[in-house]
Symmetry: D2
């Protein structure tokens, strides 16, 4: 049962100026408690500790992804492209709006610490006993299942999945623009209007008209810059490390039967790995921050110290090291141990890498990886065949080791280390 | 003991591009737990429920106020204006950075509900047993007191107070620009570079060179627009009303000895009106939101209902009414009562007003109210004497009554109301 | 014979991002020599001598006016408003695109000097033996006449004229945004998306939905700021004065039979007041600047001096005077004469004024003057009845006398002037 | 004789917000006729025929280059870097301001057509009998020579030349930002504040602190995008081709003694290759456009046709061809000849290429080519040794053949061409 709303509603948005809601189902989904919860989950997790402006939520981003998808579909409809299945509009819009619904607080860290996947939670929320499920049901008993299958990539219309998930999808376009805007860096300024105008439905894929190639190159370069300047910023990684250590320590204590001075419902279920959908929906960053602030007074010194570090931003320092072999790593860990430091809590070794664009990852279906250009003879070519600059950067693995540690303890370690290793630590400014 | 830091530090900021920290004391103040806490207090309180982008914190704003003040002082120093007391640099910068230190979570609502003033808390934090106090002490035993006296306006250098607090101060300039940026509205775009270039220290005041008049007019107009478009937005007022009702109800319950399922330390002290500085510093928006989400499950129906409204954004509807006399107001309240509604919790009457610029408020010292222009003959004139447009708008009291109520209950009330009054409620779209 | 073009064409534009051409007639009009000529006429005349960035042409602006009009009409069509006569699309778009077609080089000055009106020339070009006329003819023999009648305001569909000419028309919206962008001032940032979304066809008028009131207030304020900061800037006025003096002097010489070293076709016809349409179309700013540069070598000292002033930007200085009576003016002129200066060429008295918005000018039809708001009860109110701020500024006549003169000659004059008058000239910095 | 001006002057600029003039010599140089002439030479030549907003002048750009240089030097002075020779401030600022002084109208085309170099003209103007020379002389008899030697790269302070000319100089930074702004494309948005903050004088070079590497990568990518999206745009190339053909034809006619209906002074000297400095200074785009418009009425059909094409923007069409061997090229030329077309005027083959960054060009001194990074151990490394992405793109030669021809004549040619070649021409859309 489709019903357009009587008068278009708009949300003022710094990125897209206005977000236009034209379908009743979208309006009602936005107003569910499950979607409103996304206001309490930051889009960039702990990045606000590096870029103080990056305090924007997944709520804002989800609206943005919806809006870009709406514009793409509107354009397909207006131009009457026959390869676009018009009846899929609602499925695609709902999947775009809801694709991040299952994100928890400080998503990357919590997922790593507790072996969860936000996509699974998205589907559990879509299909569970939730307000979102009820709203979707009104479009058909199987409608929630349809939306979920777009998200877990089992839907039987590949073009819809390709619209929602691809190297050039609404999700990536919105987050580049939005994260650049809120952090204040200049790198995310892509010509989204041009890219959108160049998109074409073509058989079961969304492809790009060849004349849009430079705009796509620019988008890939912006993506690369954002990874290195923002997403992989060592200060952000440092805060994520502290965060994971807190989760790890709290779970250890929980498993040992430690009596927390502050413990509320969804947290204990989180530690026990038995979260229900209803409990999961009560996990948000407000709760995590409240727990951490309370835990700064816990008796367990390790937990209270880590929580103080996170809440008051006393993060670990780091050194960057170009190359390291396993022996060096062992040597460093050994020195930490000898100096009486904890080889896990006091030292973390990180190796971030990014591929600005890679045409064949091993473990993803092609349509999620490749950007295809459509030339005037209607033949398709993968972009790195055409663009020399994309070819140049395909497969670049850029990365350096980063060692994180508490600054005030490092002098103790340096004394017991081989000179050549110790010298690595003296580089930091 | 003044010490410049060895290398200037910068923060990337969307408004000022970079925030430059050149003094060691500023760097160390920023890193105190008390200042870091401002990350957990939103600059615009509940406005994010109206403008989803407005999720920025008082931390960001405080850095911005500091940066503008630093630029003004640098300029005074570079141009060698003799009326600027160079030795006041550190006091002024610290006061600029810290002036919002005492803001609590959802400041306007909590202050109204609990009769607190954030300026008082700022001074208590500056002078109490805090890290901020310790850092300030290093510049002299009386230095914390000096900074506090700038904030509570008893400092013996009027020009410093005027720099920090005036109708054209760094605080107002930063929030106009920042709030416009984060909400995405276009109105806050003032020519801050020009205004800063036109500022002059003149005896014990900061004044504006006459050729900067149009830039100041534009600033006053932007301020006016921001008030009406953002700060007084009826949806934001609606959310503030719910918030105050939650505080009011929770305090009623607390005073009655009600056993909350969720209650943690600084909250009970808040309700008991006996917050210590240390307790106050643990109040943040994370805690408030956590409590409210927990309270959606409280047995007290009124409290759980109000908390659900706030957390899931089911706000009160409103009607705007141009004029209302006391009899009408009584009639409306009476009808609510007759319909079995709560005349306080189910109805709120709001009358927001703003003066875009008013040269003489009754209860403030002149220097906090007037913008003075300095002409080429070195005579000072209050801006509305010179600017016809400022004169035109001085003293405009624009306002309309707004009645807020739960939408689903209003039909019950309409039946028992006099027709002429009921008709007011049928206007809403 | 209407024909949409096979594929939409776009122009990249800094203001509207892309300008979309969807009708074949628009595409072909843009490609006529008459329209291309607008590239050689600056939008802001001599303002580039004050704001070096203001080098944009009437070509750019005309595309912008067309684009805004296209968006308004598209929106009317998409929403299916019955008061909008759909068959008028082409007339309205053509009138919007072509409304400035008759502008000459440095339009304001040349019109004043030679008593011409660009609207007349626009109509002559539309109706004459021109490529534009031929393209328009293809839509019907009377189509050029229709477009011309919209421009000279005799068309029998008032709503079309109101769309093209009103205090809130596409022309004004584009020039505020564009002139602000190219000069670099911050004042023209209006929320055009919101204004456009609030426009409604209503009987034979274009009106604004009441909820758009603040956006309109902001627009009127921006307009006011742009007048004072840009359009009436005294340096720009000074350059216009030189320009008019050059035209006046050259015409005097021409009328006296002076033998110009450089004189080409449309210029002599201009001086003889007998320009044909074909000749008029060859007048552009390139020609004017070429003539002026050549004339810096003319034997007539006055002409060569004035041309040197304009081309090398040695403009007249000015003083601002709040009030002046006729006796003072006479006294000043007399002193100039006594000092051996030319009372006309060496002195110009200017009194610029602007009304930011005035609901009743004496000499214009109401629909060109008033902005009407449409409330939810479908009643119309003139905006200053509703907006206190617009009411405050309606009818403000702000103005000051500006006296322009060659700086190096003024000391000669000061000696022979009464002291009180001479003192006025000593104010300039 | 150095003299700071009493009060800093500012120019409002869309790119740098304000341009600050603090030295009297700069103020006086800007006001010379030679510098004012740059207002009549467009920064991007014929690009305005592709991007209608690109009407900005070399005057604007020159101010921008000066401003960036001023900021770099101010920073060096403020931070007291000992490797910067403070006494070179004036030389560097003057060279930055004046480096484009010798640009003629539509510089690239006119230089190619008449074998001139703008750097030579810059030096001739600096050293000739000009106002610029007089102003410079006031700082010392050898001062004009110093400035000229920076520009022709024979100055004995390499660091000054490196500041003014390098792959990361103020010239390139300003034009990327400015051209992006005026065309409206998004690609030029570099983080200039960060780059400037990272620059360091180091021995006789200007180098970049290693932590600025990503900002430099982004700058190189922006440069690459601007080349392909703007500078090498085929429509712009098409207009340059017409322009060169006009110059070529007019010179042929001139050399044959053809009697032009319109011919004025500096033009005949241009054709005779005997321009004096004074004559060169009277060449500007106003004159070229005036001549071209007049020449649309010349008796020589080829000249009048080409002038009509340029002035009314009836440009040549083009096809892009990936690879072409010499035989194909010959075949095409032959077909044009057989079809009775002019093999030079009716056909032009263009092969634009660009190197986004190349560490070793064959014919330039290293300091003009390499960007050096300074790490924390004070060792210098050429950027492509450190940046994988710069290494990837170094030496990319991207290019395709473009064939330009008059569209209305092509069908004649297609008939007499081999099918495989003719098919190349049917690709154009």
């Amino acid at each position: 049962m489709y019903s357009p709303i009587t008068e278009e509603k708009v949300f003022k948005d710094p990125i897209h100026n206005y977000i236009h809601v034209q379908d009743d189902v979208i309006w009602r989904l936005i107003n569910t408690p499950e979607f409103q919860r996304l206001r309490r989950v930051r889009q960039l997790g702990t990045s606000f500790l590096t870029f103080h402006g990056a305090e924007h939520s997944r709520f804002s981003h989800s609206l943005g992804v919806y809006e870009i998808t709406r514009r793409i579909i509107s354009q397909f409809e207006r131009k009457g492209y026959s390869d676009w299945p018009a009846e899929e509009r609602q499925v695609a819009l709902c999947a775009a709006l809801l694709h991040d619904l299952g994100h928890g607080p400080f998503s990357h860290s919590i997922e790593e610490a507790f072996h969860m996947h936000h996509e699974d939670w998205t589907c559990r929320i879509l299909l569970g006993d939730t307000c979102v499920n009820k709203v979707l049901q009104e479009l058909g008993a199987d409608f929630p299942e349809k939306v979920a299958s777009v998200i877990n990539k089992t839907y039987d219309k590949p073009i819809v999945m390709n619209l929602v998930t691809s190297p050039l999808d609404a999700d990536r376009m919105d987050y580049l623009l939005r994260d650049a805007y809120y952090t204040g860096v200049n790198y995310g300024t892509i010509d989204i209007d041009r890219i959108l105008r160049m998109l074409r439905p073509h058989r079961d894929r969304i492809v790009v008209k060849e004349s849009g190639m430079h705009a796509v190159e620019d988008y890939l370069m912006s993506r690369y810059q954002m990874y290195w300047q923002v997403y992989f910023h060592p200060v952000t990684r440092s805060s994520e490390i502290i965060l994971r250590q807190i989760f790890r320590r709290a779970k250890e204590l929980h498993d040992q039967g430690y009596a927390f001075q502050f413990m509320v419902e969804p947290l204990s279920a989180l530690f026990a790995n038995c979260l229900s959908v209803q409990q999961y929906l009560r996990l948000d960053e407000a709760l995590i921050q409240t727990a951490f602030l309370q835990w700064t007074e816990e008796e367990d010194k390790l937990l209270s110290e880590l929580c103080g570090r996170f809440m008051h931003r006393r993060l670990y320092k780091y050194v960057e090291i170009d190359n390291m072999d396993l022996d060096t790593i062992d040597g460093i860990r050994q020195a930490f141990r000898e100096a009486g430091l904890h080889p896990e809590y006091d030292l973390e070794i990180d190796f971030p890498t990014d591929l600005p664009y890679d045409k064949v990852h091993s473990d993803l279906p092609l349509y999620e990886q490749q950007i295809l250009l459509l030339d005037r003879h209607d033949t398709l070519r993968e972009i790195s065949e055409v663009s020399e600059i994309v070819r140049s950067i395909s497969g670049i693995h850029k990365g350096r080791y980063h060692l994180y540690y508490p600054e005030e303890k490092i002098t103790r370690v340096l004394g017991v280390m081989p000179k050549n290793i110790a010298s690595l630590f003296s580089q930091h400014n």
